[in-house]
């Protein structure tokens, strides 16, 4: 058997590659690329439906996920929501890319540091990790601080029917977007090209 915890972490960090979506052409085979997001989400739901019904087992699942929606579904849902809201024109591209990468790396980082060193260290690692990623991609101190604080705050509470994999994506990007659109946050280049 492979180490389930490491396997789970690796699956989580590979999810950062979802940002390749932003390099796709606007239209694929005559269809708007946003349809890809819908197809992807439905296929994830189908996999989860059959897994929960015992049609097959997947490696890397936690014990409690045998009867509950798995983390990968929550993560995929969060990413798909970000991509759809980006296509609608609500979330800026730079926030979407940075948040997907941040969530992919920081959630497993917090989990690993929590497990090895303790909760306080997990919070510090989460703050530092998300700040560095936001700063590298967005490059505006205000959004890096706001995004990293919100990401770590929403990662802490544990709910039975709502997972931090979803919250750690939706809340930071929502708060940053609200700050930007309301004019409280500083101006920035909204696309990757400008950074």
């Amino acid at each position: 058997m492979i180490d389930q915890a490491i396997y789970r972490r690796f699956n989580h960090t590979v999810a950062a590659c979802f940002v390749i979506y932003f390099l796709f052409p606007e239209s694929i085979l005559g269809f708007d690329r946003v349809y890809l997001v819908g197809m992807f989400w439905i296929s994830i739901l189908l996999i989860e439906y059959f897994r929960l019904n015992g049609a097959f087992t997947l490696d890397g699942m936690r014990d409690y996920e045998n009867t509950r929606i798995a983390g990968f579904v929550w993560f995929a849902t969060g990413t798909c929501m970000i991509l759809v809201f980006y296509e609608i024109g609500i979330f800026p591209e730079i926030f979407a890319i940075s948040t997907i990468i941040m969530a992919s790396f920081v959630d497993p980082l917090i989990g690993e540091v929590n497990r090895k060193y303790g909760n306080k260290e997990g919070i510090i690692a989460g703050l530092m990790g998300s700040f560095v990623i936001y700063q590298m991609i967005i490059g505006v101190l205000f959004y890096s601080i706001v995004g990293s604080i919100v990401a770590v705050i929403v990662e802490r509470p544990k709910f039975k029917w709502l997972d931090d994999d979803l919250l750690i994506q939706i809340f930071p990007i929502m708060v940053m977007t609200i700050f930007y659109l309301s004019g409280i946050g500083p101006e920035l280049s909204l696309t990757l090209e400008g950074n």
């Binding site: 058997m1 590659c17 990468i101 991609i137």
Partner: protein, 55 residues
Amino acid sequence: MEFTKIYICILYLVVIICSLIFYLNNYYIIASLLLFGNVLPGYKLVLTLSDNDEN
């Protein structure tokens, strides 16, 4: 188990190809983040896989 090994190989490929595409499009920061963010968990996973093969 065999399926999982193939799946892991595909994940490695996905990381390498995505990093390469971002690099070729001159998005060096994104390319580096994708690559280096996956290096440690990817390496640890290789270690556990090779341990299993030895056993």
